[in-house]
């Protein structure tokens, strides 16, 4: 078959559907997509809110108090300031352990 006959023949094929689309269907689809995106984001946030506390350390007051009694047995009822200072020192210790725990000098 000749190239020109082929090209002309294909160009003359009317591959057009007579039906015309509907603008409201397009707009509806866009809205649905936006809604789905919002739902996905909400679901993701719910998962994060549920999972992060599980992965992180859950605040355990009894354990904290036991640790306090071990570290500062002389003070029975720590004030809020003392408590915060203790927590910070623990966090610093944990950070140093995580960072340099395996360092041998």
């Amino acid at each position: 078959m000749k190239y020109d006959d082929f090209v002309n023949g294909v160009s003359s094929i009317p591959c057009v559907d007579s039906s015309c689309g509907n603008a409201s269907a397009v707009v509806r689809r866009v809205r649905n997509r936006k809604r789905n995106k919002r739902l996905m984001l909400s679901a993701l946030m719910l998962v994060c809110v549920g999972v992060v506390p599980v992965l992180g350390n859950v605040h355990d007051e009894n354990r904290d108090l036991a640790l306090w009694n071990e570290a500062r047995p002389e003070i029975k009822n720590p004030s809020q300031q003392q408590w915060i200072a203790y927590q910070r020192s623990q966090q610093r210790k944990q950070f140093i352990m995580n960072r340099f725990g395996d360092l041998k000098i």
Binding site: Y3, V7, G9, V16, G21, N22, V26, V30
Partner: protein, 182 residues
Amino acid sequence: MNSSNEIELINFIAKGDQHSLQLIMDRYRPMVLRLANRLLCDEQVSKDIAQEVFIRVWQKAHRFNPQYAPSTWIYSITCHLCYDQLRRQKWLLPLSRLGFLPDEKSDNSVIPLEQRELWSLYKKVSQSLPVKQRMVFTLREIEGYDTQETARLLGMTADQVKSNLSQAKKTVRAKLEKYEIR
């Protein structure tokens, strides 16, 4: 409807006017469908692409550059979506081959019976070409765009269009030599 009217319509679409979108769809949907069908050779996928084109028009109307004609913008969206589709299709196995759908020959019900053989030959030839060559060949030879327009639509340089076209022509000629149409 002239080009400046269409620009007005696109400005209205950017403001959320559904009626203007309908007017643009009435005007361009047949052309978009024809172009997508020629590029993809699949009636159903072409319909999906055509709808996706107008979704983009609705969503991105505020980004339309009035320096270009609305037709160029809409065809350019069509070409890019078809290009993405063809690249994705390379990795997908057609459902018909797995026996879930009837054979692809039953596609394109809009094509007259006497031209179906030619269409199926075009489909075979077109599918044998690499994606870029297929796009360039269809736009230049079948749709009749010139080199500059094709380059603009595909985001290529004129030289890239020319080289892809020459490669595509060579392959198509070689395929057609073996074929005798009744």
